[in-house]
């Protein structure tokens, strides 16, 4: 971006656009990841609260969404207030969410019969406004449904995360369809760094920002959420030295 010449003019313009877009809605906060490269690629300098975000897994993760779940849990761990977690299939293992920093006393689960009921609970949670965040595990997310959710989130300033999860790999082509979500992420597992002793190190993820409203898409290689919900910066232990300064973007083919 060539904002070097007149940064003040550009900032004023951005402020005006933001004021136009807001038109009397709840003031929206921003939840930074605390990782410079990630925050820099998001136009607001972090994940926008009062908006809908989509997260899905890659590969096997399309079916179990385990990386995506932990990614969502890590975001909500850093976000104050109660969390509503809507799901249809109760295979979520709560201790893992606690290890990503999400306090078990904060999470209320809603087990609904089908996707339609999950969407209704998701919208109800976003519309209420007293929650810190709402997560829903859904397969289909149409443009109209996501628009409703996005408007509900905008009105109350609640963070909404749709964890996309499909029953069959073939159904996952649905992820290419446009939705009204502000960002769309795909989280896939990467091989972890070899340790000097036998064992498994901290998990690593390929975090792909596939859609980013008013911003550019990007890929990042990150270390998985720690116990406070923060993503880690890649430390390249394989070569015995740290990677270049924190948050260096890496091109992934």
């Amino acid at each position: 971006m060539s904002d070097a010449r007149s940064p003040t003019a550009l900032q004023a313009l951005r402020a005006r656009i933001a004021a136009l877009e807001a038109h009397g809605q709840a003031p929206r906060g921003v939840l930074p990841f605390g990782v410079a490269a990630l925050d820099a690629s998001l136009p607001e300098g972090g994940l926008l609260r009062g908006a809908l975000h989509e997260v899905a897994g890659g590969g096997q993760g399309m079916l179990d969404a385990s990386c995506a779940t932990l990614f969502a849990a890590g975001i909500l761990a850093r976000c104050p207030g109660q969390v509503l977690w809507c799901l249809t299939k109760a295979d979520l293992f709560a201790p893992a969410l606690a290890q990503a920093g999400l306090d078990p006393d904060r999470v209320i689960y809603v087990e609904a019969a089908d996707d339609k009921a999950v969407m209704a609970c998701f919208e109800e949670g976003l519309r209420h406004g007293g929650l810190g965040g709402v997560v829903a595990e859904v397969a289909r997310l149409s443009m109209i449904a996501s628009r409703r959710l996005q408007l509900a989130a905008e009105r109350t300033g609640t963070l909404g995360i749709a964890v996309r999860r499909w029953r069959r790999p073939a159904d996952a082509v649905d992820f290419g369809q446009p939705t009204a979500a502000v960002t769309r992420w795909r989280i896939s597992a990467l091989p972890s760094a070899p340790l000097p002793v036998p064992g498994v190190g901290r998990a690593r993820w390929l975090v792909e920002l596939i859609r980013n409203r008013a911003g550019e898409c990007a890929d990042f290689m990150m270390e998985a959420c720690d116990e406070t919900g923060h993503l880690g910066v890649f430390a390249n232990l394989a070569h015995g030295s740290l990677a270049p300064p924190a948050g260096q973007r890496q091109a992934v083919a």
Binding site: F93, A98, I108, P191, S192
Partner: protein, 496 residues
């Protein structure tokens, strides 16, 4: 409740109560004879039947404890039981003297977890308080009445009306004289009576057999007049013209809710449960029941909860009256808002919880809290969403996957015994070569829960394949002793 009169007496407080074991009969008068009106299970085992002459019973069992029967008090107690059942099970409950309860369970079973669970819970609760009970659920009152008294053991949910045909005609709620007359003509079962032409029957016995048959098979409507509890806050509204449009119903619901909230306000109460009854012009009653997580008297919120269920109401030819009552109401007074300086007050989400609970049922809405158990399947239990924080935490250092497979899925592996992780495994037809592994984390069976777990051992490994996918595998058994497990491998979870 086959032995309701004697069970009722045994539940009396104080010294008037008969001894808990040993037979008990109640004596009354039938014309000029003294007869046994009721006999408990012990007395029936000794051969005493209701209707037997009192002298015969005394001859069978010397010094038989006998009390005077009091049918009026039995019926009054039955009404009190119906009021209790109305509070807990369904808005439409009526006493069915001399020894039964009628519960219209339409649309009320989901709160109790389904028809079977509702009946089982009802019978368990009654049995626990010393009342013998049998329960049946069927499409009509007549069928449920007949099945509960003949086939239910102790519960029965009958879906098809054909279940009635092989029941004795005594189950049809006919007067004793008619039953005896039908027996004399050779009718034993309801099926035989149903197959007979009506006209000769009506000529001999009047309309009664035909009416009862029609009621049992659902060809003739049989409305229930529900019991009312006098001190329940209640609003009743009769309309000048029958109403049926959904918008009108919603409007009236909102008006009734506002009026009820004013009543609750004057008594400093908040509703935990609301029943909205629609009285149709054909004397039928449809009902909506909602529950709240905390006492509430916010008219707007309660009206919204009720209106969300209006679509389940069939107005038929029109609704001529509506009744809104709060069978469970608890004290609700003003409470000081606790706020710390400089912090935003904690938002109240009770309204949201009510909305969701009435949408998905209370069973689908919960928080999970840790249990002190190493076995992953038992590591948590569900608590109410608005329960106070438990402050319990799982041990933080052992890796746990975000997805748990229930039950664990067997996998084909290649592994060295006793404590090496597998080299590769095959799950759902895909072979994965393991690059890195961590373990074992040994979990012992909980001998204090099940005898079978006394020696059981599971060795858990966290493994990573070539693509970076992580899995939580375990081997049943410690790898050395056959009594600790089968030494087969299972996949129990997927890491992220």
């Amino acid at each position: 409740m086959p032995t309701w009169p004697t069970d009722r007496l045994r539940r009396l407080p104080g010294s008037a109560k008969p001894s808990p074991d040993g037979p008990l009969v109640l004596l009354g008068r039938d014309g000029r004879r003294r007869v046994v009106m009721a006999a408990d299970a012990h007395a029936q085992a000794l051969g005493i039947r209701p209707g037997m002459a009192a002298t015969q019973a005394h001859a069978l069992v010397p010094d038989l404890p006998a009390l005077a029967a009091d049918p009026a008090e039995d019926t009054a107690a039955l009404h009190r039981l119906a009021q209790w059942a109305q509070k807990h099970y369904s808005p439409i409950v009526a006493a069915d003297p001399p020894d039964g309860l009628l519960i219209d369970a339409t649309g009320a079973t989901h709160l109790a977890g389904g028809p079977q669970a509702m009946l089982a819970g009802l019978v368990d609760r009654l049995t626990a308080t010393g009342i013998q009970a049998r329960a049946a659920m069927a499409a009509t009152i007549g069928a449920a009445h007949a099945l509960a008294r003949s086939k239910a053991n102790p519960i029965l949910v009958a879906c098809d009306p054909g279940a009635l045909v092989d029941l004795p005609i005594a189950a049809l709620r006919l007067p004793g004289g008619i039953v005896a007359g039908l027996h004399r003509l050779g009718f034993e079962y309801i099926g035989a009576l149903e197959a007979t032409p009506r006209a000769p029957l009506a000529l001999r016995f009047g309309q009664e057999p035909g009416r009862r048959l029609d009621q049992a098979f659902g060809r003739r409507a049989e409305p229930i007049t529900p019991v009312t509890t006098p001190d329940t806050p209640q609003i009743h509204r009769v309309f000048a013209e029958p109403i049926a449009a959904a918008e009108t119903l919603a409007l009236c619901t909102a008006e009734l809710t506002a009026a009820l909230c004013a009543v609750l306000d004057s008594k400093c109460l908040g509703a935990r449960r609301l029943d909205l009854l629609f009285h149709r012009v054909d004397a039928g009653i449809a009902a909506i029941r909602i529950g709240t997580a905390k006492p509430a008297r916010d008219a707007k919120h309660l009206a919204r909860l009720l209106c969300a269920q209006l679509e389940s109401i069939d107005p038929g030819f029109g609704i001529e009256a509506m009744t809104l009552s709060a069978p469970i109401a608890e004290p609700l007074t003003f409470q000081p808002a606790t706020s710390r300086l400089g912090e935003a007050p904690v938002a109240d989400i009770a309204g949201l919880i009510d909305t969701l609970a009435n949408r998905v049922g209370t069973a689908g809405l919960y928080r999970l809290t840790p249990v002190e158990s190493d076995i992953p399947e038992r590591a948590m239990y569900k608590i109410a969403p608005l329960a106070p924080p438990t402050l319990l935490r799982w041990p933080p250092n052992w890796p746990r996957p975000p997805r748990l497979l229930a039950p664990p899925e067997p996998v084909e592996t290649m592994a060295l015994l006793p404590d090496n992780p597998p080299v590769q495994f095959t799950w759902r037809g895909i072979r994965r070569r393991i690059r890195r592994a961590d373990g074992p984390e040994r979990l012992y069976g909980e001998w204090h829960r099940h005898e079978a777990e006394r020696d059981a051992v599971r060795d858990y490994f966290q493994v990573e394949d070539e693509t970076g996918q992580r899995f939580w595998l375990f081997r049943a058994g410690d790898g050395t002793h056959p009594e600790t497990g089968s030494h087969r491998w299972f996949l129990h979870g997927l890491f992220g």
